[in-house]
């Protein structure tokens, strides 16, 4: 799914369904068949868009695993504490690179993606 139809040229002729629309537009999300999705990933370049999209996927469509990519590490931490599954790409990249530069052995994937909290987010009232 992308709000810009041009973006699909990168996908080439891969056999994937394509939906033009915004990830925070409930009607557009419905067109993707999100109701039957097991996983939803919001990976746009907008932190707030990803946060909102992941919360829509969970609360409106009951998607079990919904991940929001968040560039800002502080915002990512704040939402992690609120129970959202977040993935902070700059943090993961920085950890990988520092291990490489310092000549440390690359560790297991869990050490790099520990910002991910799996499971269902609970953004409840109050």
């Amino acid at each position: 799914m992308d709000k810009n139809a041009d973006a699909f040229r990168r996908v080439g002729d891969l056999p994937v369904k394509r939906v033009v629309g915004s990830g925070i537009d409930t009607a557009a999300l419905r067109r993707t068949g999100i109701k039957d999705a097991d996983v939803f990933m919001a990976l746009t370049n907008g932190d707030n868009t990803n946060i909102m999209a992941a919360q829509i996927a969970q609360t409106q469509f009951g998607v079990k695993i919904a991940v929001a990519r968040i560039y800002d590490p502080y915002r990512a931490q704040a939402y992690r504490e609120m129970g959202l599954s977040t993935f902070c790409t700059p943090l993961v990249a920085a950890r990988l690179l520092s291990d490489y530069i310092l000549g440390r052995k690359w560790s297991g994937v869990d050490d790099y993606v520990d910002p991910i909290v799996s499971g269902r987010a609970e953004i409840e009232e109050n």
Partner: protein, 224 residues
């Protein structure tokens, strides 16, 4: 009282001016430098450079001691995140979000942002109020949206005309709390008789609002 407003567009700018006139302590946050320059010419130090969703900027703007945070940017995703963070991270007692897309009103409520404003809905409701019908028009949310006050304009053709309040059985947890006739509000008794062009004000548990809507929708069908 300290009020933080995020988003220095037209809404944010006029809101800031209005609150300043009422002698509130106000801070307006704008993340666009060139827009900020214009705002600062008018508002001076009150206009503050920053991103209302970035924790460091929120700290600098004094979210911790804010009594009210109002997020009025043109992007719903920003307003949602700013309000959620203000509430959960900074424990701001009152957060208000502008919702640009009316479809998002319900979503904001479910995601914990219960005080929302949508200009489309407000204008729509004003238009609705000029139409004479038995439609339910929401007026105000109470207790963070748990209860609502709504109004119904009783049309001349409504089957409610000539009925005593005591005879009208509304569905669910709802109660007629006022009858407005000729511009005057009265507290009704069971013996108050409704007439055409009355407006009735109803207090309803939000969970039963849908029942109330269909009750009055059914009445309309009867009257046609």
């Amino acid at each position: 009282m300290y009020v933080v407003i995020v988003g220095g567009g037209k809404v944010g700018y006029y809101l800031t001016r209005e609150l300043l006139n009422q002698n509130y302590e106000v801070l307006l946050i704008e993340k666009d430098r060139s827009r900020l320059t214009i705002l600062q010419e008018e508002l001076g130090e009150v206009a503050f450079y920053g991103d209302g969703a970035e924790i460091r900027d929120m700290e600098m703007a004094g979210f911790e001691r804010a009594d009210v945070v109002v997020s009025v940017t043109g992007d719903d995703e920003d307003n949602l995140v700013i309000c959620q963070m203000a509430k959960k991270r900074f424990n701001v007692p009152r957060v208000i979000a502008r919702v640009n897309d009316p479809e998002n009103m319900c979503l904001f409520h479910q995601l914990g942002v219960t005080e929302t404003l949508n200009s489309t809905c407000i204008i729509y409701n004003l238009i609705e109020q000029t139409i004479e019908s038995d439609e339910v028009i929401p007026l105000a949310a109470l207790q963070q949206g748990k209860a609502e006050i709504v109004e119904v304009n009783v049309s001349e053709a409504s089957p409610l005309v000539g009925k005593r309040i005591g005879e009208i059985v509304l569905p669910g947890q709802s109660l007629i709390i006022a009858v407005i006739r000729g511009g005057q509000a009265r507290i009704p008794t069971a013996d108050t008789v409704l007439s055409g062009k009355d407006t009735i004000i109803i207090l309803v548990d939000s969970e039963h609002e849908a029942l109330l809507n269909s009750f009055f929708a059914d009445l309309q069908n009867v009257s046609i």
